[in-house]
Amino acid sequence: MAIIEVFNLTKVYTNPLTRKQKRAVDGISFSVEQGQIFGFLGPNGSGKTTTIGMLLDIINRTDGEIKLFGETNLNAARKRIGATLETPNFYPYLSGYDNLKIVAKIKGIGEERVQEILGIVKLSSRQKDAFKAYSLGMKQRLSLASAMLSDPDIIILDEPANGLDPEGIREIREIIKGLGRQGKTVFLSSHLLDEVEQTCTHVAVIKDGKLVKQGSVAELTSRNIARLQADDMDLLRTVLRSYGGVLSNETRDGAVFAALGEGTLSDLNRYLASQGVYVSHLSEARQSLEEVFLELTS
């Protein structure tokens, strides 16, 4: 069942003085199924935060439709969602505990859960300290704690690993994977591509406000890539360009990497031979998510 559905979502920011318009999100559509860990990727300024802001009704959308749990009433849905947006937003003069107590009151849940969640994010010993005295990593943890406080069905995180040390990043990864195992739906934006590759089941890539790709991580990273070497590399590249089955190619580390469309490696080999190119090396190469990302967004 699709638990987050977005159709033709658009946000145009208008500068109140110059009336200049900026299309931060430009007609994107996607859906997230229950139980997916969905990574929302894109370069700086591509519209990730704006999109999440619209999902949460913090940012008024210019156009488009959003359904959460199959409903268009986002106010009702938000109680079943835990989320963070951009930076941890808390009352700096209140303790971590009091800040979560406020969240608990908004969510309409009991105060006992506050203690429990503080333990999960390892903040119990600092719960009495004022939020402003926390380190960035501790602030992020508190943010995560507030998102998970009500044991929500959907968790939306905007760059949750921002500012965390390697140990902290690993902990967040474990927490997110744990949520996935419980059947929760997680929607997260991130720049840390290998993190996403390790934790997410699905991704969507946004660039300049438009979705350029979406699919499962397995699908995206198992694209048909051939690694080739030949005595005459220039001829190899020329012939590759003339072959309809090759979408693109680049030269790296003394080899040519060619992205294949439908065809198999044998098809490619047969064609090269027919054109008088005999390869000294031909193998399948897996693309990392980072490579896919850079290819899509550069």
């Binding site: 947006l85 937003n89 009352y91 700096p92 908004i106």
Partner: protein, 283 residues
């Protein structure tokens, strides 16, 4: 509703700015009233001896002392506190987080109104306690003629409470519009002095512009100042005594009915404007 109030209470009572402001307020009035008490209740301003703060006259006297009264000081303290609290919701971005956590924009707005009401109650109670404590002790028991609280006093108290809510709502509007504590306070005082006082005074300098200046009397702060003038309610006892005071307007030029209607309209308009702003803008 109860949860919203509880949340506002947690945020307010644990904030130092709240206690510091209340402390300053008391620091101003306690010495004034103790001094008056020492003189048998009479208050002097500009070397003019005024009526005693003994009850029941004390209720009205403490609302109109040429700027040194509880009403004028509340018009200073309450908006500053409202600007600080509501402006900081935007500075801390907790306005965002409250909504993310599940409040609707309507509930968030309601929470801010609850906060303004709460502050109004605080200042109202301070007024009651201060005036009652000192005023009661000073009652001349040999010649008790009046009740401690007369009908006119209740009217005055009602007017004071409306004034508190009104100034609070105006400050709330500035807080929501500017999304910043400092800017909100700055805007509020720019508005209340430059727009509401200096501008009409400049207009009055020129004969032909004088009629325009009169419209400025209908602006909110002026209305809220007018509504608490004790001379409107306690006409017999107070107006004579207040007439001694230089510059005190014992006979107001706007009818009390007009002032009340304007004040109540402002309560609605100011909250409505804040609500629309919150509803329309990105947080």
């Amino acid at each position: 509703m109860i949860a919203l109030l509880q949340i506002e209470l947690i945020k307010t009572l644990k904030r130092r700015a709240f206690w510091v402001s209340l402390g300053l307020f008391l620091l101003f009035f306690l010495p004034l009233m103790i001094a008056a008490f020492g003189r048998g209740g009479s208050i002097e301003i500009n070397n003019q001896k005024l009526v005693s703060i003994a009850l029941p006259q004390g209720w009205g006297l403490m609302l109109d002392l040429q700027g040194l009264d509880i009403a004028s000081m509340s018009r200073l303290f309450l908006p500053v506190m409202v600007c600080i609290f509501i402006g900081s919701e935007f500075v801390f971005k907790t306005s965002r987080q409250n909504i993310i956590d599940g409040l609707s924009r309507e509930q968030f707005f309601l929470a801010k109104v609850i906060y303004v009401l709460f502050m109004a109650v605080i200042f109202f109670v301070l007024y009651l306690v201060l005036v009652f404590t000192f005023g009661y002790l000073l009652i001349d028991r040999s010649q008790i003629t009046d009740a401690i609280v007369r009908g006119v006093d209740v009217q005055m108290m009602g007017a004071f409470f409306v004034m508190l809510i009104g100034t609070g709502l105006l400050a709330m509007l500035f807080g929501i519009a500017s999304r910043n504590t400092g800017t909100a306070i700055g805007l509020f005082f720019f508005y209340s002095t430059v727009v509401e006082q200096i501008a009409p005074n400049l207009l009055r300098l020129k004969e032909s512009l004088r009629p325009i200046a009169e419209y400025f009397n209908y602006l909110p702060i002026h209305i809220f100042r007018e509504i608490v003038k004790p001379g409107r309610y306690d006409t017999e006892a107070l107006s004579a005594k207040f007439a001694q005071m230089q510059g005190a307007s014992a006979t107001p030029d706007m009818t009390t009915q007009t002032v009340w209607i304007c004040a109540l309209v402002y309560l609605v308009v100011l909250s409505g404007a804040s609500y629309l702003l919150l509803k329309k803008t990105d947080l």
